[in-house]
């Protein structure tokens, strides 16, 4: 189906109430990003199921969409986040898998960050740190870190005030840093924010 030129997501969702096929364009625009995000959260198999469910839910509940919001990403990530709440076990398993895969990361990390060769060894421990976060804090951190949503978009997605987004985001980052710094001291890792300051807030 050709994509209607210049149509925003809101235009398409609104028009799809009369012409349901127009919703396919919303799917084509956002499916890959949603699927990639869900893969990272819960692994390939469950992520595929949840991505399909996200768009099925979006289609069946699209009458509730706020058409003053042109970009449907916060809505779709919000649906995905709500579905993820039933998959905490899969998410724990996925983070455990990350923690086991230090070797596979070195190949991609080192060429990009040559001055920090230790990073590939640190990243798996980030997985353990993420696993230890409260799910609601992890949602905020990963919607910003992995889905590239802004504070305002996360607020819409999760139905919380922007100030709460900020406090959850900062708390999550602080906990990640606190989990990594003792390890860095023991293992002699060299990462700039650890050496130079207490990190950003």
């Amino acid at each position: 189906m050709p994509e209607p030129a210049g149509s925003t997501d809101a235009d398409l969702i609104g028009a799809s109430l009369e012409e349901p096929r127009l919703f396919e364009t919303v799917f084509e625009r956002h499916y890959d990003a949603i699927r990639r995000y869900l893969h990272r959260r819960v692994g390939r198999e469950t992520g595929d199921d949840l991505a399909a469910e996200t768009f099925a839910q979006a289609f069946t509940t699209r009458r509730r969409y706020d058409v003053s919001r042109h970009d449907a990403r916060p809505w779709l990530y919000g649906i995905a986040s709500n579905l993820l709440r039933h998959e905490l076990r899969s998410e724990r398993a996925q983070f455990a898998a990350y923690a086991r895969q230090a070797g596979t990361l070195e190949a991609i990390v080192e060429p990009r960050f040559e001055e920090h060769a230790d990073i590939a060894r640190i990243v798996p421990h980030v997985a353990n740190a993420l696993r230890g976060l409260q799910p609601r804090d992890r949602d905020v951190l990963l919607l910003i870190g992995w889905a590239d949503l802004t504070y305002a978009e996360v607020a819409v997605a999760l139905g919380i005030p922007e100030g709460t987004v900020g406090s959850r985001f900062n708390r999550a980052r602080r906990q990640v840093r606190e989990a990594l710094e003792p390890l860095a001291a023991i293992q002699g890792w060299r990462v700039s924010w650890m050496e130079t300051s207490e990190g950003e807030s």
Partner: protein, 298 residues
């Protein structure tokens, strides 16, 4: 590089290579789209067919309508919710006690659409729910998420035998939060609570009548008029609303049974539409001996 950069690296290398899942997701979406398109087309065809039939048989239809409306109550027969509740109460009072009410388990089957999660992406979970509950709080719940048996004390049984059949006394207890526990409910929630007692417990006829009388005394309850529930059954609706929420109940005027209870959260008036919080369509209820039985439908 900071801690957020490290978080971003996690899982970033995972490529998406297969298109099978994408095809399956698109196929699932298309099935929903096709179903909705078919329903829309069918409704249009039905509307056209009805218009033609209407033109040809206007006189006959008018005669039939007169005959039907002379027998069955409609929303237009009532000026206020209070009048409707008064009639429903009379119907309920004439009802006989269930001959099988010696059974141990109260059974209710309902079709539910429930909002889950928060924010723009809250989802609507739909499914059929069956519940068997005994006086000791044991029972069974079977729905889309599973089938679970509960031991005594695990389910919240509300003993309606202890509730007064006097509408004012009943209303006082409900307002004080003495029936469901917790904080005293608002007038809007009070209507929902009465709906819940009518459909999800097994009140004796005089208590059912009293509950309907009590509903008629809640300030702000308005007559909505004729409505069809999600199961396609015709009824008469009442509603109560405050700036944030609206509760609607649909009754069968012939049996005084509650057909459907729903709650809608109000939109913000700036683009955010109203959102269905829940819709419970009551399909079956009765008393049975075990958690493996269902009431016999006459």
């Amino acid at each position: 590089m900071n801690d957020l950069d490290l978080v971003r690296l996690l899982g970033a290398e995972v490529p998406i290579t297969d298109d099978l899942a994408r095809l399956q997701a698109r196929s699932r979406l298309r099935t929903l789209i096709d179903r909705e398109t078919r329903v829309g087309t069918a409704r249009s065809t039905e509307r056209r067919r009805r218009r033609r039939a209407s033109t040809l048989f206007t006189a006959a239809a008018a005669l039939m309508l007169v005959a039907v409306f002379a027998v069955l109550p409609r929303g237009a027969d009532y000026a206020t919710a209070d009048e409707l509740f008064s009639d429903l109460s009379s119907v309920a009072e004439r009802g006989s006690a269930d001959p099988e009410s010696t059974g141990e388990f109260f059974y209710t089957k309902s079709e539910r659409a429930t909002e889950q999660g928060e924010g723009a992406g809250s989802i609507l979970v739909e499914g059929v729910r069956e519940i068997w509950i005994a006086r000791d709080g044991s029972g069974r719940i079977r729905d889309q998420s599973g089938d679970e048996v509960f031991q005594p004390g695990e389910l919240p049984f509300i003993d309606t035998d202890n509730l007064p059949a006097d509408a004012d006394a009943l209303l006082r207890m409900l307002r004080g939060g003495e029936v469901f526990g917790g904080a005293p409910p608002s007038d809007v929630d009070l209507l929902a609570d009465i709906g819940s007692l009518l459909a999800e417990t097994h009140p004796r006829p005089e208590l059912r009548a009293s509950l309907l009388d009590a509903a008629g005394r809640i300030p702000g309850v308005e007559l909505v008029g004729d409505r069809t529930d999600a199961a396609g059954r015709a009824g008469i609706a009442v509603a109560s609303a405050d700036p944030t929420r609206r509760i609607e109940l649909i009754f069968d005027p012939e049996s005084a049974a509650l057909l459907e209870r729903s709650a809608v959260r109000a939109g913000d008036g700036e683009g955010q539409p109203d959102r269905l919080e829940y819709r419970i369509t009551y399909e079956e209820s009765g008393v049975v001996e075990t958690v493996d039985e269902r009431p016999v439908v006459p």
